[in-house]
């Protein structure tokens, strides 16, 4: 029964195929497609949760199923489910593209699941490309074709460039060692971690994932793509896609061993530049999605702090950070999607009077903003605290200090968002927002999650630590 361990992936493959068939119908029925997608995503989440304990290896050892990959698969499935929850009014995408939209979402999720389990360079690269290509098209599905196409094109060009660099890095590593499976590589590299070919190869390999995470210098695409993509796609990119990138990133960092001084210096620099650049650029931003894009760049920097600690505490911190990003980024985008229900972009001043138009959404926005900034008692603080502690164990005091100063900078623009929602009064004619019951309970649930997991994060921390133990 070795195929059983492949269950979640097979489920998503079947779901994607189903939508391929649905998309062939001449007369689309968006309502029914939405319900189908929602139930499939919910079932997929259940399948992934049921498969958490699965373990095994497939395809001649190039595909590894362990607690680490399964935890990430649950996160990805949850991300997909949450994004589809927001698709009831999919006004950003044309009616006849809806089924392709779902097809690509499921396909992309499948590819990311493959990424989390891939331990062979070929598997990793194929999965990376599959997920990237799905996203390129998803971004271009925007109702206004010029906007979507421009964003999709930008994403595509920078994306293939990053992929090319990644392949080159993989080739260098292969040339230096003669093997392509990560566990073999770890064995061969052991003791030779300061070999220039290995360092450069690893660094170039990581570039593809720098791109996905939007780490400097591969961050250019983020604001434009978030702005140009349909809101739901932007939500997906900033949640699930980041989670998958973190998963592979940590797996590749196994190659760095536990003390590669050059690599650590480079990562420290990238982390500092990403945080500072993202936060400073976000200050001037008026478009909420672009602002969130810049905050994503900053968050990529914080994730790097956990990664560059090169210890299990740091990796567990990064895994926890991925979970927290999923929750808090989604909450912020939930507000974007609901306030801009016509599927357009959302400027900060359009949040005016949100506290009257919908007190619940205003509260969701406030809590997610504080969480993104990393103010306790929210889940965002716990994530930062964990990666900071891990970095401090390696003696990175200045890095932690700079990161905290960045938290102060970021609070400034988050407060501007909160100010718009709570202080400014709505211009005349802005009606009470029509928010459906399920969305209300969803946003209440997200607020509770952010606060409760901020106050009592222990179970989630244990899960992250267990996952990392399976990885190491």
């Amino acid at each position: 029964m070795t195929w059983l361990v492949f269950g979640p992936e097979l489920f998503y493959l079947a779901a994607a195929t189903l939508f391929l068939l649905v998309s062939l119908r001449a007369r689309p029925n968006p309502k029914r497609e939405y319900l189908l997608a929602l139930s499939l995503a919910a079932a997929g989440l259940l399948v992934c949760v049921a498969g958490v304990k699965l373990e095994g290896a497939l395809f001649a050892g190039s595909y590894r199923v362990d607690l680490y990959s399964q935890v990430f698969k649950v996160m990805l499935a949850a991300g997909l489910f949450l994004v589809i929850c927001l698709c009831a009014e999919l006004n950003g995408v044309r009616r006849r593209h809806r089924s392709e939209f779902y097809l690509l979402l499921f396909l992309c999720t499948l590819a990311m699941m493959l990424l989390t389990s891939g331990v062979h360079f070929i598997t990793i690269f194929l999965a990376l490309e599959l997920s990237s290509y799905s996203l390129y098209i998803l971004v271009a599905l925007r109702r206004e074709p010029d906007m979507g196409l421009e964003a999709g094109m930008k994403y595509f060009l920078i994306g293939i460039f990053a992929s090319a660099v990644t392949v080159f890095g993989m080739a260098l590593l292969y040339a230096a060692t003669g093997v392509m499976r990560i566990d073999d590589l770890v064995r061969v590299i052991f003791g030779r971690a300061d070999n220039p070919a290995v360092i450069i190869g690893l660094l170039l390999t990581l570039c593809g994932f720098f791109f996905k995470l939007a780490v400097f210098p591969f961050h250019f695409w983020a604001p434009d793509v978030y702005q140009g993509a349909p809101n739901q796609v932007a939500t997906y990119i900033s949640t699930a896609s980041k989670v998958a990138a973190i998963a592979v990133f940590l797996r590749l960092m196994l190659l760095a061993g536990d003390g590669n001084i050059y690599l650590v210096h480079i990562l420290v620099t990238l982390a500092i530049v990403s945080m500072t650049l993202g936060n400073l650029a976000a200050i001037a931003e008026q478009d909420l999605k672009r602002l969130l894009a810049y905050s994503t760049i900053a968050h990529a920097g914080y994730v790097l702090i956990g990664v560059l600690s090169l210890n299990s505490a740091g990796y567990a911190g990064a895994v926890f950070y991925a979970m927290s990003l999923l929750v808090m980024k989604f909450s912020a985008f939930l507000v974007v999607v609901q306030v801009a229900y016509d599927g357009g972009n959302l400027r900060i001043e359009q949040l005016a009077g949100l506290h009257r138009r919908s007190p619940l959404l205003a509260m969701t926005l406030m809590v997610s903003a504080f969480s993104l900034a990393g103010i306790p008692p929210t889940i965002g603080f716990t994530g930062k605290f964990l990666v900071f502690t891990a970095a401090m164990q390696q003696g990175h005091f200045p890095l932690v200090l700079i990161a905290m100063i960045n938290v102060v900078i970021s609070l400034y623009y988050y407060l501007l968002v909160i100010r718009a929602a709570y202080l400014t009064e709505p211009a005349e004619g802005l009606p009470v927002l029509p928010i459906s019951g399920p969305i209300k309970s969803l946003s209440l649930a997200m607020v509770c999650l952010m606060v409760v997991l901020g106050i009592y994060p222990y179970p989630l921390m244990e899960l992250a630590a267990d996952a990392v133990r399976a990885l190491m």
């Binding site: 504080f370 103010i375 306790p376 502690t389 932690v400 200090l401 905290m404 938290v407 102060v408």
Partner: protein, 493 residues
């Protein structure tokens, strides 16, 4: 580690009454303004009763930590939910209870977005209570930020003069403080090698090397010092106090600034005593400058609330001076001054609040002769102003006396300078009293009513507390000594 509860968890009950109060307020429909106010009064009254009970139930003959509550929270990182009461935090808990309750009463006439105001106000105070009672570094940091969380909206929505600017400045300054605190806290945690955030365990001598203590101390001192209004990081405080609504000014100047001083004491001084000795000169210098600067700046203000704001800077300098003397008297005086200044400032802001709500101005030049229009309202302010000058018979006198005696011994020059500054501060308070309450009266306000007994309740409470501890200072000093004497003698060994 199993749970440890010494007795009924009074400390958690205080926190719970804040949080349950918050939840109940959230559940009441926002049109029911009177319900919300009564609920706030009941729950804040409950915290006051509990804190008064704790203050008098604490066994001074035994001393040490009492009412201990300890639950393991995050075992892998050694984080505990660890609350305890000792001679240092009990006066502050009592202070918070009093200011919280009287603050709710001061805001009784609020009509604008009542539900949100009291909800945020409860959250703010929950953070303050939590910080004072916690003995775990992690929780101290978390509570610090919980008390910061609602400040922005409280000032920006309900405030007055330049409120958005003030709210942003205050929030960012205080968060900058936490940006210095958190790295230092993690640094201490990692370098202790004990994998615990428990302050009592970390306090053991020899845990930290002298270098580590000096290094961490300066970050902790500056981080908490920003909140304590230490010169030159005080600039948020007058601006913030002026802009904030009355109850928030009361909590902010009365209690929140004490959090900063208390953090310096509880975290920086407790964990890094050698750092304390090393940096004491700097602390004393900054404190002395703050005392003089606050007094001189106060002399030139034309806005009643700015006057109080700058006098707070000056008075918090006295607390800082006390903390820098490395002596029992200095610590006693500092904690006494925290308490007395908290009550006194709350009374000042509460009185100004009444006057402002009637006259809609805080400009000293526009007022004038108020004592003939509203004699009772004026009396509250004047008594508080006398307290701030350090008149014997009111609580502040004792705090200042203790600090200055200690400061004279250790820093003769800075002590003399600081006392000279007191004369200036007396001058500016008298100037304010003369211009606001005496002289020709402004006919525009002649028909305004005086404070009725009912509206005056919060001020009466604050005033009687000032008088009580002015006449019986030993109640408080004995309490503080149960903590300060063992701490200082413990260091000598």
């Amino acid at each position: 580690m199993p749970m440890v509860f010494a007795s009924f968890p009074y400390l958690s009950a205080i926190l719970l009454s804040c949080l349950v109060g918050l939840l109940v307020i959230l559940l009441v429909p926002s049109e029911r303004k009177m319900w919300i106010k009564w609920i706030s009064a009941v729950f804040s009254g409950l915290t006051l009763v509990l804190s008064v009970y704790l203050f008098f139930a604490y066994d001074k003959s035994v001393g040490g930590l009492q009412f201990v509550e300890k639950v393991s929270w995050i075992p892998p990182l050694g984080i505990h939910y660890f609350n305890a009461a000792d001679g240092f935090n009990l006066p502050n808990l009592l202070l918070t209870g009093i200011v919280f309750f009287t603050g709710v009463l001061t805001m009784w006439e609020l009509q604008h977005r009542v539900k949100e105001f009291f909800a945020l106000y409860f959250l703010l105070v929950a953070g303050v209570f939590g910080l004072f009672m916690s003995m775990d570094l992690f929780f101290i940091f978390v509570w610090y930020d919980v008390s910061l969380f609602p400040m922005y909206l409280l000032i920006a929505v309900w405030g007055t003069t330049r409120k958005e600017y003030a709210a942003m400045k205050l929030t960012l300054y205080l968060l900058a403080g936490s940006a210095l605190i958190l790295p230092a806290v993690i640094y201490l945690f990692v370098n202790s090698g004990m994998n615990t955030f428990d302050i009592v365990q970390l306090m053991q001598a020899g845990t930290f090397s002298p270098f580590e203590q000096k290094f961490a101390f300066i970050f902790l001192y500056l981080g908490f010092g920003i909140l304590a209004g230490v010169w030159p990081f005080h600039t948020w405080s007058p601006v913030g106090h002026v802009a904030a609504p009355h109850a928030v000014s009361m909590v902010h100047a009365g209690v929140l600034m004490k959090i900063g001083a208390f953090g310096v004491l509880r975290v920086a001084i407790f964990l890094c005593p050698q750092g304390w000795h090393y940096w004491a000169q700097l602390m004393a210098a900054l404190a002395a400058i703050g005392i003089i600067y606050g007094a001189l700046a106060g002399l030139r203000q034309t806005d009643l609330k700015y006057v109080i704001g700058y006098s707070s800077v000056s008075h918090m300098g006295i607390v800082g001076l006390g903390l820098s003397t490395l002596s029992v008297d200095g610590l006693n005086g500092a904690v006494f001054q925290m308490f007395a200044h908290g009550i006194m400032t709350a009374l000042l802001f509460s009185s100004v609040g009444y006057i402002y709500d009637r006259t809609h101005t805080k400009a000293i030049a526009e007022l004038g002769g108020l004592s003939r229009i509203m004699p009772v309202a004026s009396a509250y302010f004047i008594v508080a102003a006398l307290a701030s000058m350090g008149i014997p018979g009111l609580a502040n006198f004792w705090g200042e006396l203790l600090v200055f005696i200690a400061a004279f011994r250790v820093y003769p020059f800075r002590g003399v300078v600081a006392i000279a500054a007191l004369v200036v501060s007396a001058l500016f308070m008298l100037r304010v009293i003369q211009q606001t309450f005496y002289g020709p009266r402004n006919e525009k306000y002649a028909s305004l009513p005086d404070v009725s007994l009912k509206v005056g309740i919060p001020r009466i409470i604050l005033l009687s507390v000032l008088l009580f501890f002015g006449l019986f200072p030993s109640v408080l000093v004995d309490m503080i000594e149960t903590a300060s004497v063992p701490f200082i003698t413990g260091l000598a060994r």
